[in-house]
Each structure stands twice: as structure tokens, then as C-alpha cells.
């Protein structure tokens, strides 16, 4: 990986930024975990890379924007993908809105995230690790400016599909929603009051099946709460 610069050291992957085949690119390299058995580790790594590639393509087919893939190097466990320029994580944007106390944009943004997740689930794509840092946003019309952009002018770009799978079960989709809700609430102070807007976006998009998923989601939430009450 020549002329790439480390930008993020995650739990399972290192992210580098550079130029690949002449394009601005991100290299996502998964690395070995010391506590895992080497052969188990290499098959897990391969599974993650496979899952990520499949979901990136499946999203595109479903009309969801994801980074383009330029190359996969299995010898170095690396995916070279499009660097989504002028993007921000949903995490940072939510914090921007929260700081300026912009509740209406925050709610609208949650609604749009709900629509995108609804589209994922409509197409049986379970993300597996939905958080606000695994969602990027770019501006639809003026790619340079995200400042003061209305949520309806954003393109929502989900990323980090290493734990994803293709699955139609309402239970799995419910878990996906629950994971996102927990992640949002633990990261953002205003998330709890805005999550209903996420859910209405989700339902608006996923007309055929969201009811069953939301039912499961309520059950999962209840189970979660009981677990907290009895302290496990």
C-alpha cells in the first residue's frame, strides 16, 4: 500500500487514505486479532470482506448509494474503495444540529436516515452494525457544501458492511433497528426524542413489511429492558 496515510485505527480494520488507480481512495485493511486462532481469524476476515463486497453491490442495485469498489486484495486483506469526498459522518452532522439546537433539522435528518434503513431492509440487507459513524452524508446538489444543507438535500451513504448479511427475517431487522437505537442514544443526547422520526421515515419507505419488523423491535426492546432490570 504505497503512498497511503493512516486515518483511522478501528477495532478490526485500519483505514488509509490515498490515491488508487488515479482516484481518491480509502484502503480498508482488516488485521489479525492476536487472541483469535490464526486460521479462524483468516476465515473470519475473509467472511467480513465477502459480506462487505456483497452488501456494497446489493445496495447499489437497490438504489442506495455506497462507495464504489476499485479493488480487493485478499493477500493483504484490503478493500480499495472510493473516498466519498466532501462527506461527513451522520454522527458529526447530528452533533452539529444538536449544538445549534436545530431540532427541526435533526428530526428531518432522522426521518431520512429512517428511509435509507427502510430501503436496506426492504431489500433484505441487514447491516449488522448500524451506528451514526457507519453512515456518511454528502450534499445532493452542491457536492462542496454540507454547511447549512437541508436534510432533504443530503445523500445518505451507509458504509462498514463487514457484519452484514442478506436475510429476510423480521427478527433480524428488528435487532438491526434496536442496535441503531442504542448506538444513537448512547452517542447523542437528543437522539431519544428524535428516534420516533427515524421510525416514521422507516415506515414511510418500507411499506410492505415494516409493521412486522416494528412489532419484533418492540419485543426486543422489552427483552432488553427486562435484562437491564434484573441486571444481566
Amino acid at each position: 500500500m504505497k503512498n497511503f496515510e493512516l486515518i483511522k485505527q478501528g477495532a478490526e480494520a485500519k483505514l488509509y487514505q490515498g490515491t488508487y488507480l488515479g482516484k481518491p481512495a480509502i484502503a480498508k485493511q482488516r488485521f489479525a486479532k492476536k487472541y483469535r486462532h490464526p486460521s479462524l481469524d483468516s476465515s473470519l476476515t475473509k467472511e467480513r470482506i465477502t459480506a462487505e463486497n456483497r452488501a456494497l453491490i446489493r445496495c447499489k442495485i437497490a438504489g442506495i448509494r455506497t462507495p464504489a469498489v476499485y479493488a480487493v486484495n485478499l493477500a493483504e486483506n484490503t478493500i480499495y474503495m472510493e473516498h466519498v469526498l466532501h462527506s461527513k459522518t451522520a454522527k458529526d452532522l447530528i452533533e452539529d444540529y444538536s449544538r445549534s439546537n436545530d431540532h427541526s433539522r435533526l428530526q428531518e435528518f432522522f426521518y431520512h436516515i429512517g428511509k435509507t434503513v427502510g430501503k436496506l431492509h426492504e431489500n433484505n440487507i441487514i447491516h449488522g452494525d448500524l451506528t451514526s459513524s457507519n453512515i456518511l452524508v454528502v450534499s445532493k446538489h452542491n457536492p462542496q457544501t454540507l454547511e447549512n444543507c437541508n436534510p432533504s438535500d443530503l445523500i445518505i451513504v451507509p458504509i462498514d458492511f463487514g457484519l452484514s448479511r442478506i436475510q429476510s427475517s423480521a427478527e433480524d431487522k428488528g435487532v438491526d433497528l434496536y442496535v441503531l437505537e442504542r448506538a444513537l442514544i448512547s452517542t447523542h443526547s437528543l437522539a431519544e426524542e428524535s428516534f420516533e422520526h427515524f421510525l416514521s421515515g422507516y415506515q414511510a419507505q418500507y411499506t410492505n413489511g415494516s409493521k412486522e419488523v416494528l412489532h419484533k423491535y418492540d419485543e426486543i426492546k422489552l427483552r432488553g429492558r427486562k435484562r437491564v432490570l434484573i441486571g444481566i
Binding site: 488508487y20 488507480l21 479493488a71 480487493v72
Partner: protein, 169 residues
């Protein structure tokens, strides 16, 4: 055009138009006389599409086809059927335009001699768009309007090429 630095290889793509002897050329190609891939320009949207396919051919430890040049054609194709891939992306006897793709080591600088045998007019690569058949491309790569309304077609194409080994199409 540069590929992954690890490959130590340069890629060259030339566009030939008004080709008069495609039949002969194809015969010699099949006999292995030419060290190159010959590709139908109608199925190529941008040289970058070929760069991604060639890069993948060089990075893979094992080739699926016989040579790196047939591998480029195979990689370009969304199907895993080898002969169908070569047929679709390779040239026909009747073609009057073709792309010639050659690879050479960074350190070398050989001008492919066999190019003289192509009875044609070389055109600047910018002319490629005159030959691209976007509808045919969308059909072959199965890109529907839902996809192309949000994702640039070139991104859709190269992503399919780069991830071909992982897709169960």
C-alpha cells in the same frame, strides 16, 4: 496508465477505428501471436473500466483463464462463464473499431510491434465515447434505472468488476 504499484506494471490502451482486417487480426489473436487484449469499444464506458479489470488480473494470485490478457476480458464480464465472457467482450470478425490493451513492466518501454498489422486508423482515446453503447452496457451489467439514478454508471461497473469473485450472480 498506472496500476497498483505492487504490480510494477503499466497499462496502455489504444483505440483503432476504421479497422479493415478484423477477421485476420482475430485469427492471429486466437493463435497467440499478439500479446494483448482486444476489446469491443461499445462495451467500454471509460478507460478506468479496463484499468480496474487489468489491475484485478495482476493482483489475483491465480488466473481463471489461460493468460493475463484473456483474464482482462473475463474480469470485464459480469458472468463467470469464460467462453461467453471472451465472446462478449472480445472482438468480432465484423468489428470496425477495437481497443488494444497491453501491459508492460515499469522498467521496460516496448512498443508493441504487432500493432502495425492492424489495418486501421488510430484515434485518440477521448474518441472512445463515440463508440460506447450505454444501453448495451446497462443491459450486460444488469444496471437498472433505480441504480443509475443514484450511482454513476462507471461506479456501478467498476464495483461489479472489482467484487466479481464475491458475487453469486
Amino acid at each position: 496508465m498506472d496500476l497498483d504499484p505492487e504490480t510494477n506494471t503499466k497499462l496502455s490502451i489504444k483505440l483503432f477505428t476504421q479497422v479493415k482486417n478484423a477477421k485476420e487480426i482475430k485469427e492471429q489473436l486466437i493463435q497467440g501471436e499478439f500479446k494483448c487484449s482486444m476489446i469491443k469499444p461499445s462495451l467500454i464506458l471509460d478507460p478506468f473500466q479496463i484499468a480496474v479489470a487489468a489491475n484485478k488480473a495482476l493482483l489475483n494470485e491465480k488466473l481463471t483463464t489461460k493468460t493475463v490478457y484473456t483474464e482482462i476480458l473475463f474480469n470485464l464480464s459480469p458472468t463467470k462463464n469464460i467462453s461467453k465472457s471472451l465472446q462478449t467482450f472480445g472482438i468480432d470478425e465484423k468489428d470496425d473499431a477495437l481497443l488494444v490493451v497491453t501491459l508492460c513492466k515499469d522498467t521496460e518501454n516496448e512498443e508493441a510491434d504487432f500493432l502495425k498489422q492492424i489495418d486501421a486508423v488510430e484515434a485518440p482515446i477521448e474518441k472512445l465515447s463515440d463508440y460506447t453503447d450505454i444501453n448495451l452496457i446497462k443491459k450486460i451489467y444488469k444496471i437498472n434505472d433505480k441504480e443509475s439514478s443514484v450511482t454513476p454508471i462507471l461506479d456501478s461497473i467498476v464495483s461489479r468488476i472489482a467484487t466479481k469473485d464475491f458475487l453469486s450472480l
